[in-house]
């Protein structure tokens, strides 16, 4: 399951989406809004998205993860709109019979989402009217 939303993420609902009686492992990643980037102090972020294509591409990534790794369930939801420091911007979770596949699949999904899903992040800086559209560099693990 992949989704994109302006609403706050419900962690209980998300974790429930991973339930599977055959699963012995659950790995999830939370992406939080941090107060700094590239040496600058960040006040807030705004995420914008191309929702139709984001949902299509996100679903493809989830399907790829299920094909590549021995996992049972995988879910990822990205928030967009205005966000404050500490807000949860993205959640990705995977369940599997054994832990290694869950770790690897979760890592794969978040990497691919950051590279391929049309979501754009604008940073607003402390003490400045300056703001910048952030560019994700290929190979980055941030």
């Amino acid at each position: 399951m992949f989704d994109i939303t302006t609403k706050q993420l419900d962690l209980d609902v998300l974790k429930k989406s991973l339930e599977n009686d055959a699963a012995g492992a659950c790995v999830f990643f939370e992406g939080w809004v941090r107060n700094h980037n590239d040496g600058r102090s960040v006040d807030k972020l705004e995420y914008e998205c191309y929702e139709a294509l984001a949902k299509n591409e996100g679903a493809v990534i989830i399907a790829e993860a299920k094909e590549k790794f021995a996992i049972h369930e995988a879910s990822c939801v990205h928030r967009y709109g205005s966000m404050e420091i500490g807000d949860l911007a993205i959640w990705c979770g995977v369940s599997s019979s054994h832990r290694k596949a869950a770790f690897e699949a979760c890592d794969y999904i978040i990497d691919q989402v950051k590279l391929r899903v049309p979501v754009w992040k604008k940073e607003f800086y402390t003490g400045s009217s300056d703001h910048v559209w952030v560019r994700q560099e290929p190979g980055s693990t941030y």
Binding site: Y50, L53, N56, V113, K114, P118, R135
Partner: protein, 80 residues
């Protein structure tokens, strides 16, 4: 001549000052549309960093366009 729909996101939305518009012209492909945008707006954007979507799917710059298609030029993404 065909009419296509353009959706603008992020930097494109800021440069054009709008979220979408319709354009009519001799557009055989997104390449032609991008050239036309360069005549309408001050686009200080390197085409080499962009991707293209047609009708909500990623597409090539040489994709054949037909009347009513929706075209989006996609800046490098930065989700997560």
């Amino acid at each position: 001549m065909i009419t296509i729909n353009l959706l603008y996101f992020a930097l494109f939305r800021e440069v054009t000052g709008k979220g979408q518009e319709s354009l009519s012209g001799e557009f055989k492909s997104p390449e032609d549309v991008f050239k036309s945008l360069g005549d309408l707006y001050t686009l200080d954007i390197d085409k080499g960093i962009l991707q293209v979507a047609v009708n909500d799917s990623f597409a090539g710059w040489d994709t054949a366009l037909v009347e009513g298609d929706t075209v989006v030029f996609i800046m490098p993404v930065s989700g997560g």
